[in-house]
Symmetry: C2
């Protein structure tokens, strides 16, 4: 590695744009929220990379919402990331996770409706297709920024739209945990990376091309009855999910 | 839902392009690999959606490698998805996962090198920055298609480049599991959705905008010593990761 004031990137194990991203992360440690980046040609030169590689790294940082790029104006640092750190093995609501980290999590755009279960959702929930379900949709906000979009589909036999208490803040899971019968106990979750797309991007105030982590889970009661089908779309900037994996013998 | 030959999409809980994607999945059940799609205007009409929504759904299917779109020629069905279904709690190599499902998994582009640990990697592995590590990179291929890109960084005190056995097929984890001292036991994994980008996209033969699931894990020996830092980039089309989550009381 070259010594000196310029951060020179020497090829290591990772793709060049990732190394460039790391160098930019280093650079941002010296910036305050709102600070402007040097112009692209100077920045590429000082990092010893091509402008194409720099742009790829900048695009990634923009998608992670670390920076904001304004056409013809420049690139700005948004400030440090707010991250909710969570062990994925534990079933907990976004609200509970945020609270554990001292973050205040609120709900916007709450939509509660009654409807008929789609064929897929009915199969997952052990219902007849078209059976009545309660659908709860909302955006979770922390520190004024949307961090997740959640959709719960609950059999109306478990929860009718009118069962939602006054001042409901949008945590169906916490509601089901607090209940005695049937109480939520565990969930089978599928993990998939997805793109936000236009609609979800607009709700979460991120570009349509942003990658999200989709956790699609069926929540079961203690006696193994499905009580909630929950789809959570997490903006990765705000979450760090980890997991302990063990060798099976 | 309208009855009849045309599949009409009625607004349900999900973004329109996701519903369109589901309708296209239904349509593909009647196709054979290599079959061509109807022209876009006719397809949008028969699904009762705008061409913009159709194009978003098609773009998603293309990124999942379910279809191939050729400029000016048409859209083609690639054939059924090959999926490796795995419980994430269990630490197992991609090879072992594939084998369990009767898939033959091979390695291409194997690169084994000795190098100096980066500051970050050294910190994770409990080494001095610059300490000698063995770096193993390769693409995993199943049924002739790249399904994952793996990078292992192993302290040379655990594994020197010359320690890799004759006919090494690229599973460092299986090598560490088979060993007695130090034997791999468990891993702490971070899960992040990422974009392939140009370099990784080229290695995995997917568009640069494809979303991948990155599993970044530190593998520990039974006595808690980090023995391997493994970054796995999974092409989501080929993997279905699930997880059991339990409420902590």
């Amino acid at each position: 590695m070259r010594q000196g004031r310029g951060m020179k990137i020497k090829p290591d194990n990772r793709p060049l744009y990732q190394q460039a991203e790391e160098a930019l992360n280093q650079l941002m440690k010296g910036l305050s929220p709102g600070d402007k980046f040097p112009p692209e040609p100077a920045l590429a030169r000082s990092l010893g990379i091509s402008r194409a590689t720099l742009r790829e790294a900048l695009r990634n940082l923009e998608e992670k919402q670390v920076i904001t790029r304004r056409q013809g104006v420049g690139t700005f640092y948004n400030g440090p990331r707010v991250t909710i750190d969570s062990g994925l093995e534990t079933l907990a609501s976004v609200d509970a996770l945020a609270q554990r980290q001292g973050l205040h999590c609120t709900t916007t755009g709450l939509e509660v409706s009654g409807g008929a279960a789609s064929a897929d959702d009915a199969a997952t929930l052990g219902l007849t297709p078209g059976a009545p379900v309660t659908i709860v949709r909302r955006v979770k906000v922390a520190d004024g920024r949307p961090i997740a979009y959640l959709v719960d589909v609950v059999p109306q036999s478990v929860l009718a739209p009118t069962d939602l208490p006054q001042g409901f803040d949008g945590s169906v899971l916490d509601l089901l945990i607090a209940r005695r019968d049937p109480a939520a106990s565990h969930a089978a979750a599928d993990i998939t990376p997805v793109k936000a797309g236009k609609e979800l991007g607009a709700r979460l105030q991120v570009p349509a091309s942003t990658v999200l982590l989709l956790l699609e889970e069926t929540i079961y009661s203690r006696d193994g009855v499905p009580v909630d089908l929950c789809r959570s779309y997490f903006v990765p900037q705000f979450f760090q999910f980890h997991l302990l994996r063990r060798i099976a013998f």
